[in-house]
Structure formats: structure tokens, C-alpha cells
Symmetry: C2
Subunit: 111 residues, 2 copies
DNA sequence: ACCAAGGTACGAAAGATTTCGTACCTCAGT
DNA sequence: ACTGAGGTACGAAATCTTTCGTACCTTGGT
């Protein structure tokens, strides 16, 4: 029951185009924003995100995030764990994760 | 001959989703990478980028960049100028432009 | 006044993406 | 061994994007 790591790209092979395409989708970005906000980087269940889409579609999006190299997926057979690849992302694209939190409210400062 | 500024979103209204969708396209990202690399932020002609696509498609992409708030377009009637909105982008999404240069070669450092 | 170069508008074709229905798999608990 | 919860595979519909053809506009130079 150790859980099988599903494969994604190596840390060095992270591709900016693939990453940006992954982050361009609202649902995937919502997941990434939540993950980036949790500095403990603990593993999370896939259904701990409150996505308003069917489970088949969730499978599709989590796979897209994994194939972009943004998360690890751990397959336990009848459930799945998700973990942010923070170190790999920070090494290759420093500051990217911080941007995901930057669209919080309260940015309406007068210019 | 002053040139008319075509409208884009206000600096405060830059939206991360729109920005990431704009940057997800290879051609648009190539333009942005070139613009981000030139620290003088001088105005450039639209055909000074070596895009392997028709001019109608270029019109489409430059418009997408403007509507995302990433560039200003200045219409001179029979030609058009492009300028990076560096300050606005940096204020709202600090570090984003730096990421565009991060996919240069030479990142193959041993881990 | 004409023309050529650069650009846009509109519309259509081609290609990608997102979404979900149906069917099936895997494990935990009974 | 059965069931239920969580997840995947495959395929199809809907939607969105990218691309370009045709037609037209604007300016500068002849």
C-alpha cells in the first residue's frame, strides 16, 4: 500500500510552455493556488479541492498538472494523493508560485 | 502622426488568468520574451519579430497581448508600434517577466 | 491620383481543449 | 464474496483557439 508514483518530467526538463498552458486553466490554477498557499507541502487527497466538475474531468486536470511537472500523483489504487513539486518548480521558475497568490483581493490601492 | 493608443485594461485590472492564457501561446510568448529581454523598453514595429505566421494571425496575437494588458499598441494608420507594459506588469505580477528569460539554454546545470 | 506596404475585419477551416456518459478497475469494510 | 467510494479509459459533444483567404482601409511616396 506504499502507493505508486505516477511519472512526470524530470526537474531539469520542466518546460515553461507546458507549465503556462497548465496554469492557463481556471480549475487547474485554483488547485495550484491552494497548493502554493500551504507552506507545509503536505500530501492532499484529490477530492479535498472543491472543484465544480465531474470526477472524470478532475482526472483529466490532475493528469495535465502532473504532465506539466507541477505536481506528483501517488496512486493508492482506490484513492490518489497529490503533492506540489515546490522545490523543482522554484529551482526552474523562481517566483512562479508566489505569483499564484498575488491575485488575492486588496490590490485595489489607488495609483 | 501622433499615433493612437489602442485600449487595454488598466494597470490595476490586470488579470492573472488572462495573462497566463496570453503567455500560453508559443508565438505570443516569443514576442514577450524578446520584449522582456530589452531593458530599454523602446517601441518596436510589429514586424520586427520574426514570426512564421501570416499578418492576419499576427494581428490576432498582438491584440490578444494587448487585451491581456501585456503590451500597448500604437496605431499609426499604416503601421503599428508595440511597447511592453513593464511597470504595470511588474507592479501586479513581480517576477513574471524574469521567468520568460529563464528558459534560455545553459540551464543544464548538474543537480 | 495612383500604387505599394502595412494593417484590419470578417468568416471559415482546422485543431485543441474541456466536459461528461458509459463502462470498468481497485481497495476497504462488511 | 459483495458493496460502495474513489478513480481511470475511452469516446463523443461542445467549445475555444489558431490559422488563413478574401476584401478593405490608411499612409507615404511617386
Amino acid at each position: 500500500m506504499a502507493g505508486k508514483h505516477l511519472v512526470g518530467p524530470e526537474a531539469d526538463a520542466l518546460d515553461l510552455g507546458a507549465v503556462l498552458r497548465a496554469l492557463a486553466d481556471e480549475h487547474r490554477r485554483a488547485v495550484m493556488t491552494e497548493l502554493a498557499a500551504d507552506r507545509s507541502d503536505s500530501e492532499r487527497g484529490c477530492n479535498s479541492f472543491d472543484l465544480p466538475i465531474s470526477k472524470q474531468t478532475q482526472t483529466h486536470h490532475f493528469r495535465a498538472l502532473r504532465e506539466a511537472g507541477l505536481i506528483d500523483e501517488i496512486d493508492y489504487g482506490n484513492r490518489k494523493g497529490i503533492r506540489l513539486r515546490r522545490a523543482d518548480i522554484e529551482r526552474k521558475f523562481p517566483g512562479l508560485l508566489a505569483l499564484l497568490g498575488a491575485e488575492s483581493p486588496g490590490d485595489t490601492a489607488p495609483r
